[in-house]
Amino acid sequence: MIPKSSRAVSTALTPEAIAASIASAETAASEPVARYALGLGDDALVLAHRLGEWIANAPELEEDVALGNIGLDLLGHARSFLTYAGSAWGRSEDDLAYFRGESDYRNRQLFEQPSGDFAHTIARQLFASAYFDALYRALQRSTDPTLAAIAAKATKEVDYHLDHSVQWLLRLGLGTAESHRRMQRGVDAMWPFVGELFSPEPEADAGGALEGVAVDPESLRAAFDELVPRLITDAGLAVPTIPFAWGGGREGRHTEALGPMLAEMQVLARAHPGVTW
């Protein structure tokens, strides 16, 4: 809550302010809904951080800006989801982002994969954006007004992100022999993590509490399968036949990439607890 009758307004958009205002809902999320929102928030947060790694490192200035912009949108989604999740436990978005360890993170493993070279990042982003696009279109119809509002906002942004990935996929796939080779390598490296995107949400069994609230990931597979292999083929690349990895991100099982990423992301907040700017 923004302090009433006080001139001491903090400069940050506080999680309390978002929590109080999202869909004008003054109620906290229920436990299963909070857990579901936590998973979605972690997906967006982890990928946002990965994209931030490109700032000042991208192959051209415009891509520094583009990947930074996409990351910023994702960070916005993460803040909304995590704030909503935290409302169930009395924890702020910053608590959840900075003071949970690797095994407490619930993101699916695709999003934590190292950025690799630019083509790896484009492949990761293509799969992520195609998945988010289908997810948020469906989540707009959630019976939970907060989740529906976040999704309605996110949908338009993700649509633009997808277009960015497709343009690069085509340009690199159909470009030089070297760009083609690297784009194929990127697609192959990220492909094993696609399967997990469509595995069930762990909270789906929670006594029907998420019925109508959450999107069944399996229901998103058809849209993904219709779009992504066709795009890969259009780019002159081979659709991988590599088997999918085991997954388990929603249960806190992660690849070795997440720990070092979190260490970098969290070090400042942990060295100076409560610090703001």
Binding site: I2, R7, V9, E62, V65, L74, K153, A154
Partner: protein, 155 residues
């Protein structure tokens, strides 16, 4: 009170007020308690300008004797460039930022219409980057007068 809140400008596009931008959603005054509640909506989920706008709204209302001010950020209904006022569009053009056209409905092909150069009026322009200095803009260049310019992208 709406008039006061409506004087706050977008920190990233300072020719536009938050009213022009369609970011200002509502102002309510509780007569009994004397508290003011202002509702704003972000243009993009991660838009950092929201913080500055909120502080500026609180500042201008405090400066006019309203001590009890709260600013709420609402997400629904989601902002689109259709919320930009006609006056806002004119101001953008005069400032050198090409204004967005009406939004496309969902089509299968992402195809933009030609963007007019805000300096010389030529339609002979080219996109330099789909992402610009802020979330809401893309970067273009005019092929006739050679000037690069910002385009407030349709959203």
């Amino acid at each position: 009170m709406w008039e006061l809140a409506a004087t706050v400008v977008d920190p990233e596009v300072p020719v536009l007020t938050i009213e022009d931008l369609g970011v200002l959603r509502g102002v309510t005054f509780a007569t009994a308690s004397g508290s003011v509640t202002v509702e704003i909506t972000p243009t993009y989920s991660g838009c950092p300008a929201v913080d500055a706008m909120r502080d500026d709204i609180v500042g201008v209302l405090h400066g006019n004797g309203y001590d009890d001010v709260s600013v709420k950020v609402v997400l629904s209904p989601a902002w689109t460039t259709d919320w930009l006022s006609d006056e806002g569009r004119t101001k953008l053009e005069q400032y050198g930022i090409a204004a967005p056209g009406p939004r496309r409905s969902d089509g299968t092909v992402s195809l933009g219409l030609g963007i007019r150069c805000p300096r010389c009026g030529s339609m002979h322009t080219r996109q330099l980057s789909r992402f610009g200095s802020t979330s809401c803009k893309a970067l273009y260049v005019c092929q006739r007068c050679q000037e690069p310019f910002d385009y407030f992208k349709e959203h």
